[in-house]
């Protein structure tokens, strides 16, 4: 998978590149819109990460030009302005996603992965991580043959974690997917829920599946 990062702020471009490379993406990095248009014309990228505030030609105008050329490459817009209408404006201009700065690296990576995924979604109705299973039709969770009672919210949390099994899930991502919050409420809601879920799926079992990644979020995975 090859991703183009268009960001004029060098340090931001650098850690975004490193984070994506760590997830096995090939990353090209450019600092202005004109170069980005040239590069996109010559190379087929799987996704483009495009900062809105670029010197010269801004991100939105680059995006419009791409879409005018009938270039279908998925585009994730980044913006420090966080204007309320900017997301709508960006999506109308043909963006596939929008992420306001500052963002969680885990969230950026997850979104890029979602953009580059070509129908790879797990379609099975029973999710499985090690000996933990979750039936998405009956909402039944089991581990090692024992049925685990979940509240509706715990179910949504577990389903989300199991669908992203093996991958880091940031707090903001969890808030957005499980609570439908598009703001950081500044509470420890996610941590408290994860703790409760851990009680139910991990306390009496080995190995422990739900792990905390300090400062980054949580990951549900079979191997430690």
């Amino acid at each position: 998978m090859r991703v183009l990062v268009v960001e004029d702020e060098k340090k931001t471009a650098s850690f975004v590149r490193k984070a994506l490379q760590a997830e096995n993406f090939a990353v090209d990095s450019l600092a202005n819109g004109a170069d980005a248009l040239t590069a996109a014309a010559g190379t087929s990228f799987d996704a483009i990460i495009l900062d809105i505030m670029l010197p010269g030609r801004d991100g939105l105008s680059v995006l419009r030009q791409l879409r005018e050329r009938k270039d279908p490459t998925p585009v994730l817009l980044l913006s420090a302005r966080g204007e309320v209408n900017e997301r709508v404006e960006g999506l109308n201009a043909g963006a596939d996603d929008y992420l306001p700065k500052p963002f969680e690296l885990a969230e950026l990576v997850a979104r890029v992965r979602a953009l580059t995924r070509r129908g790879g979604e797990n379609k099975s109705t029973v999710l499985r991580v090690a000996d933990l299973t979750l039936d998405t039709l009956t909402h039944r969770a089991q581990r090692g043959g024992t049925t685990i009672e979940l509240t509706a919210r715990e179910y949504r949390l577990l389903e989300f974690l199991m669908r992203s099994a093996g991958r880091l899930c940031g707090r903001m991502m969890i808030l957005e997917k499980v609570w439908d919050y598009d703001f950081d409420p500044g509470t420890n809601l996610v941590d408290v829920y994860v703790r409760r879920l851990r009680e139910k799926i991990d306390a009496e079992f080995e190995p422990k599946l739900l792990q905390t990644v300090r400062g980054a979020g949580y990951v549900l995975k079979a191997a430690p």
Partner: protein
């Protein structure tokens, strides 16, 4: 023409009218005297005629002067009253609406003009502060993005020692807090500038309150705080779903944070006087009466002792207040120190929804 000139002319008019009354009265008296001069003794005539003159000529003239004076005063003060009313209606958010002017160049018109200039300058200062806040929060976002990204990358380094990991993790926690502060400031600065449109739709407030109740229970559990939901009447308001959820979570979070261990949080939603009334009572230390009016101020912290114990962005209640007033509602906080604190939120009902009265 100046007000002084105008009033002087009017006053002269009243004096002339009084003089006319005296003149006409005196003329008629004297005329009568000359016709009937022979009927009475001269000394008796002088006394009675003087009396008649005073009553029939002087009194009407004085009365005219008094009425005229009263009318004149009212007329002189009327523009002052209008100006006072207009000034009284001036507040932070309508500084751009100037006072009405007569443009006749008198003292009061000049006063209105000076006042309008002052308002414009005040409005300008307010705008500058808003713009400053907005720009400051934007400028902070780029370094924050870098700091957060680099710290997150550092934490991914497998070779970090536990102590280094702890330090970087703690830094990241503070960066998250800083992000919330900057986001809060951006939100309020935009709200001040009227740049945040609400996505209004019918929202079942009772469902939001129930959802929030579940979240509040989870937040309260680690502190042994009991959360109760008393009434939860079916109520539809017209509002922005996300903002209302943000509001409720914000209040629940405060009710838990400022509570005491093993305390209680009681929530209630009902219809009162054609409004949705949501109350949340907590059994925390309460808020001293003298600082109660200031709790909605940005970054205001009532109890310095709390400053280190309770972390927050210091903007929660300001944001809550904005959300409520943007929905045409009100928020009120009552507190009995060391007993309970009650937050009362009133929101208008959705007029289109068919709701039981």
């Amino acid at each position: 023409m100046t007000l002084r000139k105008r009033l002087t002319l009017w006053y002269a008019g009243i004096l002339i009218a009084s003089l006319l009354v005296i003149g006409v009265g005196t003329y008629r008296e004297i005329d009568e005297q000359l016709r009937h001069a022979h009927r009475r003794a001269p000394e008796e005539r002088a006394i009675s005629e003087t009396g008649e003159m005073v009553f029939q000529v002087g009194l009407p003239a004085i009365l005219l002067g008094l009425l005229g004076g009263g009318w004149l005063t009212r007329k002189a003060l009327e523009p002052v009253k209008e100006l006072t009313d207009a000034i009284r209606k001036t507040h932070e958010h309508n500084l751009r609406d100037p006072l009405p002017r007569t443009h006749n160049g008198d003292e009061l018109d000049r006063l209105a003009n000076v006042f309008n200039d002052t308002l414009a300058r005040l409005d300008d200062s307010f705008n500058r502060i808003r713009e400053f806040t907005l720009h400051a929060s934007h400028e902070l976002k780029t370094p924050l993005t870098i700091l957060r990204g680099e710290t997150e990358m550092a934490l991914r380094d497998e070779s970090l020692s536990p102590a280094e990991r702890e330090r970087a993790g703690s830094q990241l926690d503070e960066l998250h807090r800083l992000t919330r502060i900057v986001d809060g400031l951006t939100l309020l600065a935009r709200a001040d500038a009227g740049q945040i449109p609400l996505k209004l739709e019918p929202v079942r407030l009772d469902e939001q309150v129930r959802d929030n109740f579940a979240d509040a229970q989870i937040l309260a559990e680690p502190h042994g705080i009991r959360v109760e939901l008393e009434n939860c009447e079916e109520i539809t308001v017209r509002g922005d779903r996300h903002r209302l959820r943000q509001l409720l979570l914000n209040l629940a979070d405060n009710a838990v944070k400022y509570n005491q261990p093993e305390g209680r949080v009681t929530t209630d939603l009902r219809r009162v006087d054609g409004m949705a009334e949501f109350t949340m009572v907590n059994t925390g230390a309460g808020i001293p009466l003298e600082i109660l009016p200031r709790v909605f101020d940005r970054f205001f912290r009532g109890d310095p002792a709390h400053e280190n114990k309770i972390e927050g962005c210091g903007l929660g209640l300001s944001i809550a207040q904005w959300i409520i007033s943007a929905h045409g509602g009100t928020i009120q906080i009552q507190s009995t120190p060391s007993k309970t604190t009650t937050v009362i939120v009133r929101l208008p009902l959705d007029p289109a929804a068919n709701q039981p009265a």
